[in-house]
């Protein structure tokens, strides 16, 4: 049976075979309320939801579809209704006296569809007068749905591979990882004439590196940029062969998985006697890693995002830059997971302004940015690409177009994939989506002549390769 017949996304066959789902859903809901910190928020939201509709005006999806089910408050009400009916005394009393709403299989299916039409970007939270965090409700609803096995197959398979398979979401075995890094070292030598190493399993390193593991397959320039920054700054870092994946799709569908994956990160840092977690260019990996203090207790290693590290080093004058800056117009997309709460917004901008001659902002930006349209793990669900790059990505495509930028920088593996697909599907063929370290790499002064400087006739070709024009 085609498991996409029920929802817009594929689920595993077992999801279609679960029986007695309403009871199981409510048992999971009760367990989560008992052990988590969600009950206070739900109780508060259920009591004072104002239904003012301000969130509708801030949602890029509703702006595009004008479909009432895409109003954040409308979506949150789906779960709040269940909460009121089964977990508030007034709701249970009302149901006994007057009857009315009951949780059914059909209602669960409705939630399954609608909570995956939201990217949990949390933009609407800032427009809610009573402070309802609709992204939080989506986050919780997805966990409850996961407990009755409603999980997009793309997310489930990745987490299974990470926790029960090879050990990472892209199923890259250690030998392949090592080969890839050796190839990147050769590339750095060939292009920049510099000997930069990707260190493995160095005990006692200050930083243990956790990029989105997909970068090893897809984002060579980003990783070379990361390594180059560590090289020129003399950073003590290592990649652990026990765990080299910062991706945490638990954040998108289950706190149970989130907890296990974060604990694995902490375990690897401890195994290597490292001091800090260094997260690569990935928004959700960074936000997940910010849960290290939650699960790691008082001895939890501090978490540093590579943008914060690079910015700090640039400020300290430890990243020498070539005189030539990036000449083409550059714009920046804020990944929701690092920018929405205002945690990382200025560091990337200050780096870009230092290395680019023509940096322009999208509007709005920073904490008010629009989601790339692939947040909340939806970017991994290939079968909903038309939705992601259509109604969900329409606003972002418009923003990109208005900048007139050649380079669209986003320090997030998921955002980059989504933005590339948006560009492909919205006639933005001239835009190149890159990571921030990709551009930084091009302008670092390694203090040695590059091959193009040694061999003059090759200079034009090399300029094209490094992307720097003078």
């Amino acid at each position: 049976m085609d498991t996409k017949t029920k929802y817009s996304y594929y689920v595993e066959q077992k999801a279609l075979e679960v029986t007695d789902r309403p009871r199981k859903f409510l048992e999971a809901f009760a367990a989560v309320l008992e052990h988590s910190n969600y009950s206070l928020a739900l109780d508060t939201y259920a009591r004072l939801s104002a239904k003012c509709g301000r969130c509708a005006a801030s949602c890029q999806l509703y702006e595009a579809t004008q479909d009432p089910r895409d109003i954040p408050c409308h979506r949150s009400e789906l779960l709040l209704r269940v909460y009121r009916r089964y977990f508030m005394p007034s709701g249970t009393l009302k149901a006994r006296v007057l009857g009315g709403f009951r949780l059914t299989d059909e209602y669960i299916d409705q939630m399954a569809e609608e909570y995956y039409r939201c990217t949990a970007c949390r933009r609407c939270k800032a427009s809610c007068p009573v402070g309802i965090d609709h992204g939080l409700v989506t986050h919780l609803a997805r966990w409850l749905l996961a407990e009755v096995d409603v999980i997009p197959k793309a997310l489930l398979v990745s987490v299974r591979e990470q926790l029960e398979g090879v050990g990472n979401t892209s199923a890259i075995p250690v030998p392949a990882l090592v080969d890839t890094c050796e190839f990147l070292e050769e590339e750095l030598q060939d292009i920049y004439n510099v000997d930069i190493k990707f260190p493995f399993d160095v005990e006692g390193a200050e930083y243990v590196f956790f990029p989105a593991v997909s970068d090893f397959l897809l984002e060579a320039d980003t990783l070379m940029g990361n390594a180059a920054v560590m090289h020129v700054t003399g950073g003590s870092w290592t990649i652990g062969t026990g765990n080299y994946d910062g991706i945490n799709y638990g954040l998108f569908y289950s706190d149970r998985m989130l907890e296990r994956i974060v604990n694995n990160v902490i375990g690897e840092v401890h195994r290597l006697k490292g001091q800090k977690v260094l997260v690569g260019e990935c928004g959700h990996a960074t936000r997940s890693a910010w849960y290290v203090p939650t699960f790691g207790g008082p001895d939890a290693p501090p978490v540093v995002n590579c943008l914060q590290y690079a910015h700090q080093m640039l400020e300290a004058g430890k990243i020498p830059l070539r005189a030539e800056r990036i000449q083409e117009r550059v714009t920046y997309h804020d990944p929701c997971n690092i920018a929405r709460a205002g945690r990382i917004t200025e560091e990337p901008r200050e780096i870009l302004k230092a290395i680019c001659s023509d940096f322009v902002e999208m509007t709005p930006n920073r904490t008010e940015n629009y989601c790339c349209g692939g947040g909340g793990g939806t970017v991994s669900i290939d079968e909903i690409r038309a939705f992601r790059t259509g109604p969900m990505g329409k606003r972002k495509a418009q923003q990109i177009r208005e900048t007139g930028a050649k380079y669209l920088v986003s320090p997030c593996a998921n955002c980059k994939k989504q933005l590339r697909e948006i560009c492909e599907d919205n006639d933005l063929d001239d835009v190149e989506v890159v990571g921030l370290h990709d551009l930084l790499l091009r302008v670092i002064d390694f203090g040695v002549p590059t091959p193009d400087q040694v061999t003059a006739p090759a200079s034009e070709e090399r300029t094209q390769e490094t992307g720097v024009s003078c």
């Binding site: 048992e27 999971a28 367990a31 989560v32 008992e34 052990h35 988590s36 910190n37 969600y38 009950s39 206070l40 928020a41 109780d43 508060t44 009591r47 004072l48 939801s49 104002a50 239904k51 003012c52 509709g53 301000r54 509708a56 005006a57 801030s58 509703y62 004008q66 009432p68 109003i71 408050c73 409308h74 009400e77 939270k125 427009s127 007068p129 009573v130 402070g131 309802i132 965090d133 939080l136 407990e147 489930l156 987490v159 299974r160 926790l163 029960e164 289950s254 706190d255 149970r256 998985m257 989130l258 907890e259 296990r260 849960y291 203090p293 939650t294 699960f295 207790g297 709460a341 205002g342």
Partner: protein, 233 residues
């Protein structure tokens, strides 16, 4: 009718006021108990108090948030200012407190109080019309979302007629009876409806923040409760 009025603004008023205070106190107590529990359970106890406080203040005095749905927001702002100021600072109300409990405080000039009263009624009606006129809010709205603004308007409209009998098509007693009765009903409904946001609003930003501060073993405990500890993914 005078007996009814005396009864409504005597024992019924005190009963409604007591019910409101106790009901709101229950909301506050439940919320603070929940906040304490969540903070105690949180694995990461570094809370961004500054940001939470800033967001709370921004929404208590929402001048910076008006551009989103500008007309609706302005209407709502005027409505809130009027319905907060008039009942507390109307000279006639202060005189009642003075007579009953010996308490008094500075009053609004009558002209301003009258203008705010008219504004309260006009904006209450405007809020309902705007709610009906916008498809976004129409699909979200429940019965209470329409009924409450109109109910709030009743004591203001009847209070205006009490203060300006020349404008009133009704007898003063009828207007006064409507005024105290509707006010009593409103006081009674405050803790039972979304009007409870008058005390909960200062806590909601913190509540939302705390929900993201997970207990370190919440996932594991849920797995144990649901007997899924050894279940393959």
């Amino acid at each position: 009718m005078d007996t009814w009025i005396q009864w409504l603004r005597g024992p019924v008023f005190w009963a409604a006021l007591t019910f409101m205070i106790l009901g709101l106190a229950r909301h506050v107590a439940m919320t603070f108990w929940g906040i304490a529990r969540a903070a105690r359970q949180a694995g990461d106890k570094t809370f961004p108090y500054g940001k939470v406080l800033a967001a709370t203040i921004q929404w208590l005095f929402p001048a910076s948030h008006l551009k989103n749905r500008l007309l609706f927001s302005l209407t709502s702002l005027v409505f809130h200012v009027a319905i907060i100021l008039v009942p507390i600072f109307l000279a006639g109300h202060i005189a009642l407190w003075q007579r009953g409990l010996g308490l008094s405080w500075p009053a609004l000039p009558n002209g301003i109080a009258t203008a705010l009263t008219v504004a309260a009624v006009a904006t209450a009606v405007a809020l309902v019309i705007q709610r009906l006129a916008s498809r976004d809010t129409r699909v979200l709205s429940r019965f209470q979302d329409y009924a409450l603004p109109l109910l709030v308007a009743v004591p203001f409209a009847s209070g205006f007629l009490v203060m300006h009998p020349a404008w009133s098509p009704f007898s003063r007693d009828a207007a006064l009876l409507t005024h105290v009765l509707s006010a009593d009903v409103l006081l009674f409904l405050i803790p039972l409806t979304k009007l409870n946001h008058m005390v909960l609003l200062p806590t909601t930003q913190l509540v939302s923040e705390l929900a993201w501060h997970f207990p370190p073993d919440a996932g594991s405990k849920v797995a144990v409760t649901l007997e899924k500890v050894n279940e393959p993914i």
